[in-house]
């Protein structure tokens, strides 16, 4: 009965993608923890999560319900797709053409609805893959993946959130992991021609030449001091500064974030708005070797369309939380106010219009580049929306049934998993899957051994997606 984890926990962690150095120090990667035999299920080297936050209406997108009572029926028609027997609504008409790469899971559910039925907790649920509120809350899945798997590209952070704003401050968390594994947020909007990643592009006024001058001067003055040569943290900081300096000047780092290296046709294919360019940046980062990329778009009111600035008047909080006027052709603000104010109707360009374009472009593009072979792509949301339209012409939160879509890394194409009733409100299939099952799927695809626990600072073993099982239909 040896408690090796306590030994490991006493070590200081370094954090973030230092490749070999990192993994040797943290003891968090499988090599240090005793690796399980690589499972045939481990088809993914990387994972890309498209988190469309706010609760995307399942019946207006992946799970059309043409037989629903007319007063509650979606106005968007059911359409066929490239895959036999697979139907979406017309809001996904471009995605329908790439359906042969997708498995749509229509039987997602939150088993304990009270837990994740709010946006902050629901978002944390998606980020961590576990219902919030336990005695020890798990860190973000992306941080765990970074900690367990290390990096494919040492000159880049191993887990990145696109774009990442203050809004995720509560939901995205590093928890008990060392801070180096905190997700790296790109910030801003990649659709903005002047957009740069803070602290990754050289600061304004510092060109490369001046940076090199400074760095040379620093190197000649940073001679260390008595004892520093043997001080572990000082050594670690020195190595990290070298890595950071490399990131700041390494053309590969900049190239990974530089959308100007993409052709105009590619950019247009994704859509020249905030969402499209976020999706495109995510593909670039995956292609550059980033282990875990999460896109959490949250279209800003002052955004971009067709490459030009646009202000979505009345759209102050443009997520998918369509409590009011879900089918509005502009903003959802109703007289006397409602809980869903500040959104834009689900059928508008900044919502499903740009989503359909960006997602279909992403799947097509990743397939053409061969990235789908070893990248798991997940299109997720924290819950669905009510099958009934409320008296404000909106749909409220619905945790009983909602839809996720998956592609890549061995996920079968053209497959629908699970089914809901005539209204799209309750699961009628014998299978139903939870967000924990989704998390277990991601870990399983990446070959992360869930039987090896994480260790909290007090030495408590904490298992990954312990209440979940990989969704079997995604491993066919």
């Amino acid at each position: 009965m040896r408690h090796d984890h306590r030994e490991i926990n006493r070590r200081n962690f370094l954090g973030i993608g230092l490749g070999g150095v990192l993994t040797a120090v943290t003891g968090l990667n499988p090599a240090a923890a005793g690796v399980a035999p690589v499972s045939a299920n481990a088809r993914a080297k990387r994972v890309l999560v498209l988190f469309e936050q706010g609760g995307v209406s399942q019946i207006d997108t992946w799970d059309p319900k043409p037989e629903a009572p007319v007063e509650h029926r979606s106005p968007f028609k059911q359409i066929g797709t490239a895959a036999d027997g697979m139907y979406f609504t017309e809001l996904l008409s471009r995605t329908a053409k790439v359906a042969n790469h997708l498995t749509v899971v229509r039987c997602m559910t939150q088993p304990t609805p009270g837990i994740g039925n709010s946006h902050p907790l629901g978002s944390q649920y998606i980020y961590s893959g576990e219902a919030p509120g336990g005695p020890v809350e798990l860190p973000d899945m992306s941080s765990i993946i970074a900690a367990r798997m290390g990096t494919l590209a040492p000159y880049l952070p191993s887990n990145i959130l696109v774009p990442g704003t203050d809004e995720q401050a509560g939901a995205s968390r590093i928890g008990f992991l060392p801070p180096g594994f905190a997700v790296f947020k790109t910030g801003g909007s990649p659709a903005d021609p002047g957009w740069r990643v803070p602290n990754l592009g050289l600061a304004a006024g510092i060109d490369e030449r001046r940076f090199k001058d400074r760095h040379d001067l620093l190197n000649s003055l940073d001679v260390g001091y008595l004892g520093a040569a043997h001080a572990r943290d000082a050594d670690a900081m020195h190595a990290l500064m070298e890595q950071a300096a490399d990131m700041l000047t390494n053309p590969q780092t900049r190239r990974a974030f530089d959308l100007s290296t993409e052709t105009a046709a590619t950019k247009e294919r994704y859509g020249l708005g905030h969402r499209g360019q976020c999706y495109l940046l995510a593909r670039k980062l995956i292609e550059s070797g980033v282990r875990a990329v999460t896109v959490d778009v949250r279209e800003p009111m002052n955004s971009y369309r067709d490459g030009r600035p646009i202000s979505y008047s009345g759209g102050s909080n443009m997520n998918w939380d369509h409590h009011d006027a879900i089918y509005s052709t502009s903003h959802t603000n109703i007289p006397n106010g409602g809980p869903g104010a500040g959104r834009f109707g689900i059928g508008t360009w900044p919502m499903m219009g740009s989503t359909d374009q960006a997602f279909s472009a992403l799947i097509e593009d990743m397939h053409q580049r061969g990235l789908l072979a070893d990248t798991l792509v997940c299109f997720v949301t924290e819950f669905g929306r009510t099958p009934r339209v409320n008296d404000r012409q909106g749909r409220d939160h619905w945790t009983s049934a909602f839809s996720f879509a998956f592609a890549g890394a061995g996920v079968p194409g053209g497959q629908v998993v699970g089914a809901t009733d005539r209204d799209g409100g309750y699961i009628t299939s014998s299978n139903a899957y939870t967000i924990e099952d989704y998390a277990a799927t991601v870990y399983e695809k990446l070959g992360i051994d869930r039987s090896i626990p994480l260790q909290t600072p007090i030495g408590k073993p904490s298992y990954l997606a312990s209440k979940g099982k990989p969704i079997p239909e995604l491993f066919a």
Binding site: R6, P178, P198, L200, L217, G224, I458
Partner: protein, 800 residues
């Protein structure tokens, strides 16, 4: 709990016997000065009764285990069987067994009775401990909240009722097979006769196999008697020494029960080591030392846990102790440990190192260039003591040390509204400014009531509104104990039980707080959720009954701050020591438990004793530590102590904290006005964390936890990026030209070095810096770049 708490004191007291620096010598063939046998008589009273006998030889006064080489003779009647010193009953009778080892003999009276009577296996006292010993009920196996593979056991058997059902009823009752005991799943799986994810955990020759097999054969009788295990007794006790010639020791474990019975449980308890590189322990309780170091060998039986501390020494070729006279008892005790483990300490640091270190430690700020110049120019022999005195009486000291305390007590406007965070923070600052005795500080907090604006200490309860948080925070801050495990199950590495947890909860069960007021209610209890038992408040003497009008917190505070409390003073001095030395004597500083031993027990005891005698005077303790050579050692290492980082043989190199770094950059760039003008602009002096991107990146806690570990101290890539390319440093370096622009280059470079590194530049550094400034392309950017470069050196970013 209390009993073991005193055992803890006892073991610490015995620690001083380790002072002798001599190492064992001689070979195993040598004749021992004497041998000892433990116990001195053996009385076995039933068929399966057993007793671990330990034979120890003394060579030049040092003990060596001889249990496994001893010869047991003069046994005409074969009353017992003996393997590795374990005696088991075989036949009734008495005899004197002769033990011969290392040329000495000793007689052991042995009596055996009752072998003719049935002696069934006890589910509660044998089966469950065996499941812990074999690893079945650990947190990573079936003891996990949802078990493993559908088989759930309570963690380390804390819930026997649940385990009884799980073993004898669940799993289609296949876990035990009364007809064919060997076919039981709990035997076949760990024997790997069936696939078992947990691997091979049981062998036929194990005592565990015998216990499980017999228990099932006898009908898997799962009676749960009211009797409890009241304590365990471990031999040998206290601090033990191992060396190359005496690297092994046998441990013997007795369990005492509430009905007066005593049982040898050496073969059914679980052993563990805190440092396998120093010494390991096998399943028979046999300890083997490996390489230089210290370890706690912990012994677990049911919810009882005790540790024996072993120090393994190894002679280092050519080691010669060269340390000059100690300044005070701190140095003496540190040196004794260093000498014993053969590490040479580093010399006392230079004035430059000292002045930077002591300013950062006591005020959080760097000394200014002028303060450093004055200190370096001062030739009086007592200048180090005087500067410590001066700093201890500064406002910066009060605020910086208040920040450390406030970090743990969740002083943030998120929790304390309408100016209460400021009032509470001011109260803490004032308590440090006035040097309020630490026992009074603790008592003021845990017994505070009233209007939180008039009695800011009562914010203690507003910041942590739930009974659980109050229990955990109070235990962590003042007892250095992480009791949160015991909320749901007995603590896996310590004696904290659920009963203890809810007893502390009972202390606070009647304290009601809203934003404005903290009131005492006349009702309110804490209930152990597993048993439904309503708990008596922790700290109440046995037999004493509190009335409904009595403040339970006062009784608890009496218990907490009494000098005999094994935690309070030790935890306090350990925190202060860690602030000054960069590492606690117990580390982590809030994880006191017998299985996590102090790296220097006598030193911790000494500091605690001094602290108590001084009337819990924090300033006096800081002055005492700062005047030691130990505090003043250089960060430079020698070949002997290079890898040593627990025994304080050299100063510890550590990164400035977020607040120190932010203010240091402000000081060096002259972008911060003097503290007396604008104290609120100093991160080290603020009432609560600014939590800017910069300070968060460097690990400033948000004050959501009472664990000192909330402050992250490990370097990260984001920090490196922030330093090399972040806006804060860049902007402040740019603004530094306002101060440095008109200085002549010589003075500029010297001022900058003194401000940033508290030393003058070397000739070479000065010439590089002057050369850079002389390029005269753009003096503003040259100064900016020079300042920026110096702020990015490790010598600046780290304290040393």
């Amino acid at each position: 709990m209390k009993l073991n708490a005193f055992a803890f004191v006892l073991s610490m007291g015995l620690a001083s016997s380790l002072a002798a620096p001599v190492l064992a010598s001689g070979t195993t063939a040598a004749i021992a000065d004497k041998i000892e046998v433990y116990p001195q008589t053996v009385a076995l009273r039933s068929k399966r009764d057993c007793r671990q006998v330990v034979v120890t030889g003394y060579f030049h006064g040092l003990p060596r285990d001889l249990t496994r080489t001893a010869v047991f003779s003069n046994r005409p009647r074969d009353l017992v069987t003996i393997d590795n010193g374990m005696m088991r009953a075989a036949a009734n009778g008495t005899e004197h067994i002769r033990i011969t080892a290392s040329g000495r003999t000793i007689d052991l009276p042995v009596s055996v009775s009752g072998v003719q009577d049935p002696d069934p296996v006890s589910f509660k006292f044998e089966t469950l401990p065996v499941l812990t010993r074999q690893g079945c009920s650990t947190g990573s196996c079936h003891g996990a909240p949802h078990g493993k593979g559908g088989f759930v056991l309570s963690l380390f058997g804390y819930n026997p009722q649940m385990d009884r059902v799980s073993l004898t009823r669940d799993g289609l009752t296949r876990r035990v097979d009364l007809m064919q005991p060997a076919d039981s799943l709990i035997i076949k799986k760990p024997m790997l006769e069936l696939p078992h994810v947990g691997g091979k955990r049981l062998h036929r020759q194990d005592e565990g196999y015998r216990v499980l097999f017999n228990w099932i054969s006898e009908g898997a009788y799962a009676e749960l008697p009211a009797t409890e295990c009241s304590s365990i007794e471990v031999y040998p006790k206290g601090e033990q020494r191992l060396g190359p010639d005496a690297a092994t020791r046998q441990i013997s474990v007795l369990a005492h029960y509430s009905n007066g019975q005593i049982r040898d449980v050496t073969r059914i308890c679980a052993f563990d080591t805190s440092s396998a590189s120093a010494a390991t322990v096998d399943s028979l309780g046999y300890v083997t030392g490996h390489s230089r170091g210290q370890t706690a060998i912990s012994v677990r039986y049911l919810d009882k846990l005790l540790s024996v501390h072993f120090t393994m020494t190894e002679p280092t070729p050519g080691f010669k102790w060269n340390e000059p006279r100690p300044t005070n008892d701190i140095d003496r005790l540190v040196n004794e440990k260093l000498q014993q483990l053969q590490y040479l300490p580093s010399p006392v640091c230079s004035d430059s190192e000292f002045v930077r270190r002591v300013y950062l430690d006591l005020t959080g700020l760097l000394p200014s260039a002028d303060q450093t110049r004055d200190f370096l120019a001062d030739n009086s022999p007592d200048k180090r003591v005087r500067v410590v005195d001066k700093l201890l009486n500064s406002e910066e000291y009060a605020r910086f040390w208040a920040l450390k305390r406030a970090d743990l007590m969740r002083v943030t406007p998120n929790r304390l509204k309408e100016g209460r965070a400021e009032l509470y923070s001011d109260w803490i600052v004032d308590s440090i400014r006035q040097n309020m005795p630490y026992d009074r500080f603790a008592r003021s907090l845990v017994t505070a009531s009233g209007d939180t604006k008039k009695s800011p200490a009562a914010c203690y309860f507003v910041a942590i509104p739930t009974q659980e948080e109050r229990t955990e925070m109070t235990a962590e801050i003042f007892m250095g104990s992480r009791v949160e495990c015991a909320r749901c199950h007995n603590h896996p590495f310590e004696n904290w039980t659920m009963r203890d947890y809810y007893s502390i909860g009972a202390v606070f069960a009647r304290t009601q707080a809203d934003d404005k007021m903290v009131r005492l209610a006349s009702t309110g209890e804490a209930t152990n959720p597993t048993t439904g038992e309503v708990m008596a408040p922790f700290g109440v003497q046995k037999g004493v009954k509190l009335g409904d009008g009595d403040d339970r917190r006062v009784t608890f505070a009496d218990w907490l701050v009494q000098p005999s409390n094994p935690y309070f003073a030790r935890v306090a001095v350990n925190r202060i020591w860690a602030s000054l030395m960069g590492r606690g004597i117990v580390e982590p500083i809030d994880d006191f438990r017998s299985s996590n031993p102090p790296s220097n027990g006598p030193l911790l005891d000494h500091l605690a004793t001094e602290f108590i005698h001084s009337g819990y005077d924090c300033k006096a303790l800081i002055q005492y530590i700062c005047s030691s050579k130990t505090y003043q050692r250089s960060a430079g290492t020698n070949a002997s102590n290079r890898m040593e980082d627990q025994l304080f043989s050299h100063a510890r190199v550590r990164m400035l904290t977020a607040e120190q770094l932010k203010d240091a950059v402000g000081q060096v760039t002259h972008t911060l006005p003097s503290p007396t003008v604008a104290r609120h602009r100093y991160a080290t002096e603020a009432s609560f964390p600014e939590n800017s991107t910069f300070t968060q990146t460097f690990g400033q806690p948000e004050r959501t936890s009472s664990c000192a570990c909330e402050r992250q101290t490990a370097p990260t890539l984001l920090q490196a990026l922030e330093l090399l390319n972040g806006g804060t440093l860049y902007t402040m370096a740019g603004q530094s030209t306002g101060y440095y622009f008109n200085l002549p280059d010589d003075k500029l470079v010297e001022d900058l070095y003194l401000a940033a590194l508290s030393r003058k530049p070397t000739e070479k550094e000065a010439s590089i810096a002057r050369g850079f400034l002389k390029r005269s392309v753009n003096r503003n950017s040259e100064i900016t770049d020079l300042v920026w470069s110096l702020l990015n050196t490790r010598e600046f970013i780290f304290q040393h």
